[in-house]
C-alpha cells in the first residue's frame, strides 16, 4: 500500500521531520556503500576467512575486470544509449592479441596493443552505426555481441588459448607492497581518469548534457553524434584493456571468455546510480556497484552456501540493492 500522507500535517516539530527526512535521504543516497559494509561484516560473521587480508586482496583482484567493464558499460549509458557487446569485445580482442603473439610471432607487447586497438575499433564502429546509420543501440550492440562471441569461438576453434608470453601474464600476477596485487591499481587509475574526464573536460560535460537532452545539446552547439562516437570508442578501449587484464590474470583465454560478465557488467553501474535514461551517474557510484557485486560473489563462494543456491541468493541481493535505489529516486531524488 502506498504511504498515506495526511493533508493536515502536525504543526509541531517540522524541523525534526525535515531533519529525519534528510537523514533517510542521506542513508538511501549512500545505500550502496552502507549495503557493502553490511555485507562485508555479515559474510565476516559467517566465515572468519572472509575478513582476512588475503581475501580482501582476492576481492580487489576480482573487482578489477568487472570494474573496467562496468566503466565501459557506464559510458554509453551516460549518453542514454547502451552497449551490450562490451564483454564479448573483451573476449574477442584478447584472443586477437594472444594470437598475434602465438601465431603471427609478434612480441607480446605490440600484440597486446593490437588486441586493445581491435577492441577500440569495435567500439568506434558501434558508435558509427548508432549515430550515422541511426541503428538502435540495444539491437545493434546485441548483434555485435553475438558476432563477436561467434568470432571468438571461430578463432579458438573451441579450444582454450594458453600460449601466452611471460610478459603478457606478468601484470595479472604481480604484487606490490604487502603482497597486494597490482591489477586493482589499474582500475583505480582508470576510475580516476574517467572521473576527471567526466567532471573537468568539455567532453565530460557534453556527455552529461547529451544524455540529459540530446536536442537541447545539439542546439547548444554540441556535436551530439561526435560525442556519442567518442563515448563508444572509449568504452571499446576499456573493454580491450579489461580483456588483456582478464587473460593475464587467468593466464588463459577460453572460447567463451568474458561472456559470463555481461549481466554483472550492466548491473554494476546501474546499482551504482548510473541512470539507464542517461545523464546521471559518477565513477564513485560505479566503483560502489562493482565492489558490491564482487563481495556478493566472493562471499557466497566462500561461505558454506550450497552451490545450487548461490545464483539465486546473489540475484536476491542485487534485487534488494536496486529496489532500495528505486525508493531513493522516488522519494529523495
Amino acid at each position: 500500500m502506498s504511504t498515506v500522507v495526511t493533508t493536515t500535517a502536525p504543526k509541531d516539530t517540522p524541523d525534526k521531520e525535515v531533519g529525519m527526512h534528510r537523514i533517510i535521504g542521506w542513508v538511501l543516497h549512500n545505500v550502496v556503500w552502507i549495503w557493502l559494509v553490511a555485507l562485508i561484516l555479515g559474510f565476516g560473521m559467517f566465515n572468519e576467512f572472509f575478513l582476512t587480508v588475503l581475501n580482501m586482496q582476492n576481492i580487489t583482484v576480482q573487482a578489477t575486470v568487472l570494474g573496467m567493464l562496468g566503466l565501459a558499460v557506464a559510458l554509453p549509458l551516460l549518453v542514454a544509449e547502451i552497449d551490450l557487446s562490451i564483454p564479448a569485445n573483451l573476449g574477442f580482442s584478447s584472443a586477437i592479441g594472444a594470437l598475434a603473439y602465438s601465431d603471427w610471432g609478434l612480441p607480446w607487447f605490440p600484440a597486446m596493443l593490437i588486441g586493445i586497438a581491435v577492441a577500440t575499433l569495435v567500439g568506434f564502429f558501434n558508435g558509427l552505426c548508432i549515430t550515422k546509420l541511426r541503428m538502435v543501440s540495444l539491437i545493434q550492440t546485441l548483434s555485435m555481441m553475438i558476432i563477436l562471441q561467434g568470432a571468438l569461438l571461430a578463432l579458438t576453434q573451441g579450444k582454450t588459448l594458453t600460449n601466452l608470453s611471460d610478459g603478457y601474464v606478468w601484470i595479472g600476477q604481480a604484487t606490490t607492497i604487502g603482497g597486494w596485487p597490482l591489477m586493482p591499481l589499474i582500475l583505480l587509475v582508470a576510475l580516476a581518469l574517467i572521473g576527471v574526464l567526466l567532471r573537468m573536460t568539455i567532453l565530460g560535460r557534453s556527455i552529461y548534457a547529451v544524455g540529459g537532452n540530446p536536442l537541447a545539446s545539439n542546439s547548444a552547439g554540441i556535436r551530439v553524434d561526435r560525442v556519442k562516437i567518442i563515448t563508444y570508442t572509449i568504452a571499446g578501449f576499456l573493454a580491450g584493456v579489461a580483456g588483456f587484464l582478464l587473460a593475464s590474470w587467468q593466464m588463459a583465454i577460453t572460447s567463451n571468455q568474458g561472456s559470463s560478465y555481461l549481466l554483472y557488467a550492466i548491473a554494476a553501474p546501474i546499482i551504482g546510480g548510473v541512470s539507464v535514461f542517461g545523464g546521471r551517474g559518477n565513477v564513485v557510484g560505479i566503483l560502489g556497484g562493482v565492489l558490491l557485486l564482487t563481495v556478493i560473489q566472493v562471499g557466497l563462494a566462500i561461505t558454506n552456501v550450497p552451490s545450487f543456491y548461490v545464483g539465486m541468493i546473489g540475484g536476491f541481493m542485487i534485487f534488494i540493492a536496486v529496489a532500495i535505489d528505486a525508493v531513493r529516486v522516488r522519494y529523495f531524488a
Binding site: 493536515t8 517540522p14 560535460r205 537532452n213 547548444a220 552547439g221 556535436r223
Partner: protein
C-alpha cells in the same frame, strides 16, 4: 485507494451551513514548504459550484503548486482542502479523480495513433470479463462527442490544437469530472479557436461543471471567468467573487504588486549604421530568400503564419534546417556559406534560442550554472579542460544579470518556472557573445512581468551593437520591441514594415492571405 474523510479537527467549525452548500472546493490555509522555501503560504480559496474560477499569477507565484495540491499530485505541508464540504485526507491523483477533480495540463495527454473515441475512453474502457466492449465504447464516445465537432473515428494525431484540448476536457468530464482544472488551455490557440473553446466551456458550465482556469492573459480571465483569485509569491494577493467588478489594470496590479510599466523600445533610424549581417540567396526547406541586410544594433522581427518561412529561415541561419545553400556574411567575413551545425554558427557569432525550451532549450537535470556554460565551454577551456574559475565567474555574471529567481546557480533547472528557464537559456546564448542573436518566440508562455524583463535585456543588448532577430507571432511583442518587421509568406519576405508603421492593426492585417494550415 479511496478518499478518506477525516474527523473534523477539534477546533473546527466545519459544517455544511447554507452558504457553504454551493461551494464545490474550499481551500483553507494551505501551505507548501520545500525546506525553508515556501511555495505557498496559507492560501485560502472558495470555488463556487458551476462557476469558472480564474487563477492568475506570475510564473513561480505558486499556481502550479496549488493546482498540484488540488489535483492530488502533491501533498500540502499544512492546511486543509474540502470537496463538497468534506475534508480530503491523503488523496493521490487517482483518488482525486475518483472524487471528480481533474487536471487538464498544457500538453494535451493524447495518444496520436489511437482514435478520438479510444483516447476518450483511455483507462476507462467499458469491459466485460477483461475484454473491451468495442460497440459500447464507440456508442458512448459518439454520444459524448456530439456537438463537439470531433469525429470519434478519426486518428487523434490528425486533430487540431483546439480539438485536442476539447477531447481532454471531455475525457475529464466523461470520467466523472465535476471540478476541472485547465492549465493555460489557450496556449498556442488562434483567436477563433479560443472563442470556440470558451463557448464549449460555457456550455459545460451550464451543465454544472466547475472550472479552475489558469491563464497569463487578463483579457481571457475577464472574458470567461465568473470569479478570480490572484497569487503572488506564494500568497493570495487578492481576487474577486464577481469578475465584473475587476478591470485589467487592477488584475495586473494584483499580479505584479505594483503598476506595471510596459516596455517600449525607443525607435530610431538605422540607415547610418553599418550593415552587420548580409544574407544572400538562401534556399532550404520552406525557405527561399534572395537577400536581407541587418544593420548593427538593429532588432528585426520575423513573423508569418506557420510554415511561411519565418521560423524556418531563423533555423537555417543557425544551421538547424538540414542542408541549405546560400551565404551569410558577418562584419568582416564576406560571403561564407551558411553554417551546417549550431557549433559552426556559434563559432561565427550567431546564436539562436529555441521556442520550445523544454524540448531543445535546457538540459533539465543539470544545474543553472552548467546550462549557462554549455554553449561556451570551448572558450573557457585549455586542452579540453574546463577552467573552473572562469566558468563560475561567467555563470555568476549571467545568473545575476538575468535576474534568475533561484536559491543559487547550483539549482537544477527542472525546478525552475518557465520564465526563469527562459532566462537560463538566454544566459547560455549570451555567454557565447554573439554578433547576431536569433530569438524564436522569446516570451512565449512566460508571464507579463518576466516578459518585460526579457524585452529589456534584449533592448540593452542591441545597444551594445548586437543585431537581433526576433521570430514572433505575438503582435504586442513586435510592436513594443522591434525596429523592423519582415512578414513572411511562401518562404520569403512578403512585406516589410518599418519604424512607427509597426502597429497592432497593421500587423493583424499583414498575413492577409491565410494559407491552409494543416
Amino acid at each position: 485507494m479511496a478518499i478518506q474523510t477525516a474527523t473534523p479537527p477539534s477546533t473546527g467549525t466545519v459544517s455544511a451551513s447554507g452558504d457553504q452548500a454551493d461551494i464545490a472546493l474550499r481551500i483553507e490555509n494551505v501551505s507548501k514548504a520545500y525546506g525553508a522555501f515556501y511555495a505557498l503560504r496559507s492560501v485560502s480559496l472558495n470555488i463556487r459550484r458551476g462557476s469558472i474560477h480564474g487563477l492568475l499569477g506570475e510564473n513561480g507565484a505558486g499556481k502550479s503548486t496549488l493546482v498540484g495540491i488540488i489535483s492530488g499530485q502533491r501533498t500540502p505541508s499544512s492546511g486543509e482542502i474540502f470537496l463538497n464540504g468534506k475534508p480530503i485526507v491523503g488523496a493521490d491523483v487517482r483518488a482525486m479523480e475518483e472524487a471528480g477533480v481533474f487536471l487538464v495540463t498544457q500538453e494535451p495527454m493524447i495518444i496520436d495513433h489511437l482514435s478520438a473515441a479510444e483516447n476518450l475512453m483511455l483507462g476507462i474502457w467499458p469491459s466485460k470479463g477483461g475484454f473491451v466492449r468495442w460497440r459500447t465504447l464507440k456508442a458512448d464516445a459518439a454520444r459524448m462527442l456530439t456537438g463537439s465537432g470531433i469525429d470519434p473515428n478519426v486518428n487523434a494525431g490528425r486533430l487540431n490544437a483546439v480539438a485536442r484540448r476539447k477531447l481532454n476536457i471531455l475525457r475529464a468530464m466523461f470520467s466523472g469530472g465535476k471540478v476541472i482544472i485547465l492549465d493555460e488551455p489557450t496556449a498556442a490557440l488562434t483567436v477563433p479557436d479560443r472563442s470556440q473553446l470558451f463557448d464549449f466551456m460555457r456550455a459545460l458550465k451550464n451543465d454544472g461543471v466547475t472550472f479552475i482556469f489558469i491563464s497569463h492573459y487578463n483579457d481571457e480571465i475577464l472574458e470567461i471567468c465568473d470569479a478570480v483569485s490572484v497569487l503572488r509569491d506564494g500568497s493570495l494577493a487578492g481576487g474577486s467573487k464577481d469578475i465584473a467588478a475587476m478591470t485589467s489594470g487592477q488584475l495586473s496590479e494584483l499580479v505584479l504588486g505594483r503598476d506595471l510599466v510596459l516596455f517600449q523600445r525607443a525607435r530610431r533610424s538605422f540607415a547610418d549604421e553599418p550593415v552587420a549581417i548580409r544574407l544572400r540567396n538562401v534556399a532550404a526547406k520552406h525557405v527561399k530568400l534572395e537577400e536581407l541586410d541587418i544593420r548593427r544594433g538593429e532588432i528585426v522581427g520575423f513573423t508569418g503564419l506557420p510554415g511561411a518561412g519565418a521560423k524556418e529561415l531563423a533555423k537555417t541561419i543557425f544551421g538547424l534546417n538540414g542542408t541549405a545553400t546560400g551565404s551569410v556574411s558577418l562584419a568582416g567575413n564576406e560571403g561564407e556559406p551558411l553554417p551546417d551545425h549550431p557549433q559552426a554558427a556559434f563559432d561565427r557569432g550567431i546564436a539562436y534560442l529555441s521556442d520550445d525550451r523544454r524540448k531543445d532549450g535546457v538540459v533539465g537535470h543539470l544545474s543553472i550554472a552548467e546550462n549557462i556554460a554549455l554553449s561556451s565551454l570551448e572558450r573557457r577551456a585549455t586542452f579540453g579542460f574546463v577552467q573552473g574559475s572562469a566558468e563560475s565567474s561567467l555563470c555568476k555574471t549571467y545568473f545575476n544579470s538575468m535576474g534568475i529567481k533561484a536559491p543559487n546557480a547550483g539549482a537544477v533547472v527542472n525546478t525552475l518556472s518557465g520564465g526563469n528557464q527562459q532566462k537560463v537559456c538566454l544566459g547560455r546564448v549570451l555567454a557565447t557573445e554573439p554578433k547576431l542573436l536569433i530569438l524564436d518566440e522569446p516570451t512565449r508562455g512566460i508571464d507579463v512581468g518576466v516578459k518585460q524583463d526579457v524585452l529589456r535585456i534584449i533592448d540593452a543588448l542591441s545597444k551594445t551593437g548586437v543585431s537581433i532577430i526576433i521570430v514572433s507571432t505575438d503582435t504586442d511583442e513586435l510592436v513594443r520591441a522591434v525596429d523592423r518587421v519582415c512578414v513572411f509568406r511562401d518562404g520569403t519576405i512578403h512585406e516589410t514594415i518599418i519604424g512607427d508603421d509597426i502597429t497592432t492593426e497593421r500587423l493583424r492585417r499583414a498575413p492577409s492571405k491565410p494559407e491552409t494550415v494543416r
